[in-house]
Symmetry: C2
């Protein structure tokens, strides 16, 4: 049975030839010890998952042939995760968890209390790909470049609701069951929270809904998983259970 799962950005259909790049060929042949005739699972983020046969494999590349679709394409609900990058390991973790938990788009933002001036978008995107490979997903959320929170809010489409995990929301937040449907984004602040100016701005925006994540202070990475869980359970695809 095919156990290896790879994301390959190439069209997938029955009989379709799929070229391997050098690092993919090295992984399959050098690391996983696979050769011509062996099978792997491949997804491209849009055509579902396909069982593919290795036709030819060399050091610098190779060719797969797509045999049959093993899982349909399944896209996550229209939910973005917006977060302020923190220390490297925890930022990687947030991206991995967002991909696992079914975020459709991941947007790192710079806030008044964010330390990082830049991110490695390509490295974070690779983490999202790896999470999808490991977790049986057929979708990979795109990871955006670092933008300022102010800029993101300026260009905001007001039909998209924004769930703000507000540390000061205890006792004031609306229950999740009262939240509207439609497209959503979750906003997670950096360690240290948001500045007073940011808090005022967020509180004044009509599409912002605050939630509380309990009486304990959560680290940003924990808060991201907790908020994604509450949203998926209340408004997302954890209720559909059609898998």
């Amino acid at each position: 049975m095919a156990k290896v799962r790879l994301f390959i950005d190439h069209p997938l259909a029955a009989g379709q030839a799929v070229p391997l790049e050098a690092d993919q060929a090295h992984y399959l042949s050098g690391v996983m010890r696979l050769g011509a005739g062996d099978e792997i699972l491949v997804f491209n983020g849009r055509d579902g998952e396909w069982r593919c046969r290795i036709v030819d494999i060399r050091k610098r590349g190779g060719i797969l042939e797509a045999a049959e679709q093993t899982a349909p394409q399944r896209d996550p609900p229209d939910l973005w995760l917006i977060f302020a990058p923190i220390k490297k390991a925890r930022t990687d973790f947030i991206v991995e968890k967002a991909a696992e938990m079914g975020a459709a788009r991941i947007l790192p933002v710079q806030t008044d209390f964010t330390n990082s001036e830049r991110i490695r978008q390509d490295r974070l995107q690779a983490h999202a790909v790896e999470a999808a490979e490991q977790c049986g997903g057929t979708f990979v959320p795109p990871v955006g470049d670092l933008l300022s929170l102010a800029k993101v809010l300026e260009g905001w489409d007001p039909s998209r609701s924004l769930l703000w995990a507000d540390e000061a929301a205890a006792g004031e937040a609306a229950p999740l069951s009262d939240l509207p449907g439609g497209p959503w984004a979750i906003l997670i602040g950096p360690e240290g929270g948001f500045s007073d100016a940011e808090r005022q701005r967020l509180r004044a925006l009509p599409f912002v809904h605050r939630i509380s994540l309990g009486p304990r202070i959560l680290r940003a990475d924990t808060a991201a998983v907790a908020a994604l869980t509450l949203w998926q359970a209340a408004l997302g695809d954890w209720q559909r259970q059609d898998s």
Copy 2:
């Protein structure tokens, strides 16, 4: 303002002298550059949080004096987290997150598909302490020694309900709002899930309730945070909001 927060296993009361061990004295003096007259926050897991003044500090130890209580003792709900240890970094992460999210006790268990034969209980306990120090908690969940799941279930008090995050529960699990009150534990399996024998045993136990964590496969550490979130929001202290 006192910014450093330390767990010190010693009684705390107004005027109480609190001895520092060598590593604590080194941290305060050598790392944080604090000296006599400076203040820190101290908790011991049972007497709340206290502002303490450094009376004397040397290489091999020191003395604090407790001045006033800055936060009451706040114990988490009666919720245990039972999990199968996985790779080191993810095991550390599960313990950290359980402490942050308000688990009262953390129990690593060996299952049929668990790879690890042993854990470093002292290292995991230190992670729980650090999480409480960082997150403003006044309680530190004890981390148990590694036991077999079979043994844990044999000695189970049936008045404690067990929430089983079952990958195969989609469509069959009861809604969280139907779950009973009282003491609880959450059970998270290893990567690869539970064996058929374990699954049969769990399904037959009257105190076991299954929940689904959505249509995607979650890693064990993600599943732990997600299950803790759902429980805290439905049955725990995230609703009380009395902080």
